[in-house]
């Protein structure tokens, strides 16, 4: 590496990763990843690899998990390719122009901000937090290992380094509040900014956050893959003001077509919009009084802990298992992860239940944990809705 500091890393930027502290010089000393592919499990590695790839003018793949990256082609020039956490087991890869990606960062972080990284460093939202902190010369606090105990480690790190800015999914926030413990009005972590994104924010959670962090700027962000961040709601209420259908902030236009939210944004990718510049978000909305509230996905995807999963895809997998006569995968609401997939299985007569459970588990083992059906129940029939269809969503 040349060691030349890129202009998107402020000289005052510091990264705390577990027990290690990195400034630019420490990042520059990290080994270069081979073949333009970096395992995006630590922010230090990701930032160092980005700087190195920019210097040599090469594409970079932020790999997550064990997907095969051997055949990956970086294409000409410096770009960043992210892997989605899809429901099919095979991640989707989306290439971003780095300058454009930085241009989509909204708002400038205040000086002296101390950010907590709650997102995966290889995820779009994680990269946004990292780049925001790096450009502002802020402190970025991260925990190196993800898995069981991550939330507890994040809560400890938040306290220890007195973080001021935390952005996470509603599911993250529910678990984080639990891990912090203490009374709902404890003032032990004086956050300045609380941001929610990636899933629809519900009113009970917004109320709990306002109570626990009364001095924080509380915002929930609405974004889509094609158009990036579209708007931020800062009034502490779920959904967004219905008045925005007539006049929305930041040059954005919104309308409801057949219950689906459509947007026209100056920041949308040109290929994703129709001839008039409108883009269907695929998000179902309901107008209630002075508010527009989110009501799930048109494509039936449900959000489990920030991961969009398809009950239908999982159901098809289970139906293909030997010994299964019928199966229904249903999303039930969860106070922890927003939703959770559950499965009801009708075994063929004479099926061996324990063996069937093992086979059912194996049929979804390659899916991300959020997409696997939890709580398998065996039954002698699947209850159907009045229309004769399997009811996809559990009782609200």
């Amino acid at each position: 590496m040349t060691g030349r500091r890129p202009d998107w890393i402020h000289p005052a930027f510091r990264l705390i990763e577990g027990e290690e502290v990195f400034g630019w010089a420490d990042l520059a000393a990290l080994p270069m990843p081979a073949g333009g592919v970096v395992q995006a499990d630590r922010p230090s590695r990701v930032l160092a690899a980005l700087a190195a790839a920019e210097t040599v003018g090469q594409g970079l793949l932020l790999a997550r998990g064990g997907a095969e990256s051997g055949g990956w082609q970086s294409g000409p020039g410096f770009s960043v390719t992210l892997e989605s956490s899809g429901t099919t087991g095979t991640p989707k890869r989306l290439r971003h122009d780095f300058a454009r990606l930085r241009g989509r960062l909204r708002g400038v972080a205040e000086e002296g901000a101390r950010w907590l990284l709650t997102y995966d460093p290889g995820a779009f939202a994680g990269l946004q937090v990292m780049l925001t902190a790096a450009a502002a010369g802020a402190l970025l606090v991260a925990v190196p290992n993800r898995g069981a105990g991550t939330i507890a480690a994040l809560a400890q790190a938040a306290r220890r380094h007195a973080v001021t800015h935390v952005s996470g999914t509603p599911s993250f926030w529910r678990a984080f509040l639990m891990a912090l413990g203490g009374p709902e009005t404890a003032l032990d972590l004086p956050l300045a900014a609380v941001t929610l994104g990636g899933e629809a924010a519900d009113q009970p959670l917004l109320d709990r956050l306002a109570k626990r962090f009364p001095h924080a700027r509380l915002r929930h962000i609405y974004a889509s893959t094609e158009a990036g961040a579209l708007f931020a709601v800062a009034d502490g209420r779920a959904g967004f003001p219905a008045a925005w259908l007539d006049a929305a902030p930041d040059g954005l236009e919104m309308r409801i077509a057949d219950g689906v939210l459509e947007v026209r944004s100056p920041r949308a990718a040109p290929g994703a919009v129709d001839a008039d510049g409108w883009l269907s978000t695929g998000d179902l909305v309901e107008r209630r009084g002075d508010r527009v509230l989110f009501a799930g996905r048109l494509d039936g995807l449900v959000n489990v802990g920030g991961v969009k999963v398809s009950p239908e895809v999982v159901e098809r997998r289970l139906l293909a298992v030997d010994g299964v006569a019928d199966a229904a995968v249903v999303a039930v609401t969860s106070p922890i992860t927003g939703h959770l997939l559950t499965a009801t299985i009708v075994p063929v007569p004479g099926a061996d239940d324990p063996a069937l459970r093992v086979a059912l588990r194996a049929a979804t083992a390659d899916l991300p944990p959020a997409a696997r059906p939890r709580a398998l129940t065996f039954a002698d029939h699947i209850p159907l809705s009045a229309a004769g269809k399997k009811s996809r969503k559990g009782a609200p």
Partner: protein, 82 residues
């Protein structure tokens, strides 16, 4: 008391841990969820709440979230059948 609910939580947590190839350490009323003490993540905790609803017929979170951090605090949210 909530002994039977505590036993139910211990049984189901043990099953969830075993499914992941983990062994649950001895559980007490003061064991904290999501605190690194127990080998479970938030998806496992969400699973536990669904299974408890299936087995007890009760959903203490129907009217909104209720704060709990420990196994004992969760057990106290369920009423014991007479």
């Amino acid at each position: 008391m909530t002994d039977s609910i505590f036993a139910l939580i211990a049984e189901e947590l043990g099953r969830i841990a075993a499914d992941k190839g983990e062994v649950l350490p001895p559980l007490t009323a003061d064991s904290r969820f999501l605190d690194g003490d127990l080998p479970i993540d938030s998806l496992d905790l969400a699973t536990l709440l669904v299974v408890l609803e299936q087995r007890t017929g009760q959903d203490p979170f129907r009217e909104g979230f209720r704060q709990f951090t420990t196994v004992g605090e969760l057990a106290a949210l369920y009423t014991v059948p007479a």
